[in-house]
């Protein structure tokens, strides 16, 4: 009994960081899954992906006023704006869509720089504050610890989003097209489906997901001058760790990142600056194809 209590006491300080890691990981999953599908389905390296999240984040900062209506409005506007930016990107990428990744990287990096500058010009250089709905501002008790209510709700919402994404990919015709395109894009074209339409659809969906993550995750990774870079970097780590086109791998990698960034830092504070990249290097050294292999869309 004493041993159990002692064990519980040892785990206790890390419970909240571990829970935070789940929230952070699910946020990274929703934000990064679009980039994974861009890469796996459309074979496009989109370095403007972080910008799509930042659009959602700035929308949240501009529209949220502590009410539920403003949250719904911010979500709608953020998702639509980021999805529209995704479609715009698809149009810009058309000439280099079948080219090498360097051309795509240069083009999308340019868009990211220009878009980031426009956001700063529009919203100012300071990191804006984000006001969550008043009902979620407080904290709740979790295993004897106070924990931010918004983060707890975010975990539920992000889990629902992840489940919805899984169902769309597995059960809908659009999801089948995505999985088929990961497998053999030429044969999908021979079914009469335009690769350009698939590309635009994937980039729009990627934008919508990143936009939703930006709005809902603004209290966790808030809008600011470095937000786009942070989200892009985390998303690229997810791509490397999770493998291309794999939803299960993406989720696993995102949760691993979340735990490394929170629980890992709590356990090894001195290693905080390089813990994430050390983990990435270790995974690559042991399993170069990522945690769940590659080319699996669910």
């Amino acid at each position: 009994m004493i041993a159990v209590a002692a064990g519980t006491n040892r785990i206790d300080p890390y419970l909240i960081p571990a829970l935070d890691g789940v929230a952070y990981g699910l946020l990274v999953f929703v934000a990064a899954s679009g980039l994974v599908f861009c890469f796996g389905v459309a074979n496009i390296l989109n370095l403007a992906h972080g910008l799509l999240y930042a659009i959602g984040g700035y929308t949240a900062a501009a529209l949220l006023d502590g009410g539920w209506v403003s949250l719904a409005l911010a979500l709608a506007v953020g998702v639509l704006a980021a999805a529209a930016t995704g479609v715009l990107l698809a149009g810009l990428l058309t000439p280099v869509a079948t080219g090498n990744h360097l051309s795509q990287a240069l083009l999308t990096f340019g868009v990211a720089l220009a878009g980031g500058s426009l956001l700063v010009a529009g919203f100012g250089p300071d990191n804006p504050q984000v006001q969550v709905p008043a009902a979620l501002e407080g904290s709740v008790m979790v295993a004897g610890h106070r924990y931010a209510a918004y983060r707890l709700v975010f975990i539920v919402v992000a889990a629902v989003l992840a489940a919805a994404l899984y169902l769309v990919v597995r059960r809908t015709r659009a999801g089948m097209l995505v999985r088929a395109a990961v497998d053999d894009p030429e044969m999908v074209a021979c079914l009469g489906v335009s690769p350009a339409r698939i590309r635009a659809g994937v980039l729009a969906a990627a934008g919508a997901l990143a936009g939703a993550a930006g709005v809902l995750g603004a209290p966790i990774i808030g809008p600011g001058t470095g937000t786009a870079d942070t989200v892009l970097l985390l998303s690229l780590v997810v791509v490397v760790l999770g493998g291309l086109g794999s939803m299960a791998g993406t989720l696993l990698a995102a949760l691993a990142i979340g735990e490394i960034q929170t629980l890992g830092v709590a356990l090894l504070p001195s290693a905080a600056p390089f813990l994430l990249f050390a983990a990435m290097a270790a995974v690559l050294a042991v399993r170069a194809r990522g945690l769940a292999g590659r080319w699996r869309a669910a």
Binding site: R173, A180, V182, D183, M187, A298
Partner: protein
């Protein structure tokens, strides 16, 4: 009607097909035979739009389609059963059929009204494998699935690239019987085949490709009556010198 007129195509700067001309009547089977590397698959891929035609014409029912993108050509009524089947490994049979019978694949003018039910009636083996993924099927089942996928696109022209490759003799015979039945129903069939005997048995006309050129194109009756020239062309001893290569003209037009 499928008309291929002086079609040139290749990869990079090299030409593989040299002014290939063929006419396939509705309801007939045109076999194309030739050695490995003769350009048979390139011909099929060029008609389907997967390889860029550098010059020449491809007409489906009188409509020029060469140079269009593959999805446009598919929408014009061209169904492809590729070499190696290329079924989607992670999709189930049911998902293949669902995707292939999608609303964007409305019956093409003159195309047969293929439904999932009719396709399963024709290929009953697929009906008991609906929940299995493409990678879990046998070679014969994958071939049936590739044919079903193509038929659900309501094609007027069916391109079959070595459909019997790797199949057991009885399965290969079933596939040939199936292709014969499809042509009898009015489908225009271009069949790439390695086995000369099978090609002659099945086709209404037989063409031989050699180094990307049509060196023989006659009715099957003539090929049956006098098979010696045909056999000689496909024998190792009858290798003609390859034609000189020439640069690819820039005629790729991405017709919307």
């Amino acid at each position: 009607m499928l008309t291929v007129d002086r079609l040139c195509a290749g990869y990079g700067g090299g030409i593989v097909l040299h002014e290939v001309s063929l006419r396939v009547r509705p309801g007939s089977i045109q076999a194309v035979v030739g050695r490995n590397g003769a350009g048979k698959s390139t011909l099929v891929h060029t008609i389907a739009g997967l390889v860029r035609a550098s010059s020449g014409r491809v007409e489906i029912g009188g409509v020029h389609v060469a140079g269009r993108q593959p999805h446009r050509i598919a929408q014009s009524g061209v169904g492809l059963v590729p070499q190696g089947r290329r079924v989607f490994s992670r999709l189930t049979v049911a998902e293949h059929l669902h995707l292939a019978a999608a609303p964007w694949r409305a019956p093409t003018s003159g195309g047969e009204g293929w439904t999932v039910a009719r396709t399963l009636e024709l290929l009953p083996r697929l009906a008991v494998r609906l929940r299995h993924r493409g990678c879990e099927l046998s070679g014969g089942e994958q071939q049936m699935l590739a044919i079903a996928r193509a038929l659900l696109g309501q094609p007027r022209v069916l391109l079959l690239d070595e459909p019997c490759e790797g199949l057991s003799p009885d399965l290969a015979a079933r596939v040939r019987e199936l292709v014969n039945g499809l042509a009898a129903d009015g489908l225009t069939v271009l069949l790439v085949e390695q086995q000369l005997q099978h090609a002659v048995e099945l086709a209404d006309r037989v063409a031989v490709l050699e180094y990307g050129r049509v060196v023989y194109d006659r009715p099957d009756a003539e090929a049956r009556r006098d098979p010696a020239p045909l056999a000689a062309m496909l024998s190792v001893a009858a290798v003609a010198p390859p034609p000189a290569n020439r640069p690819t003209p820039r005629l790729w037009a991405d017709t919307p």
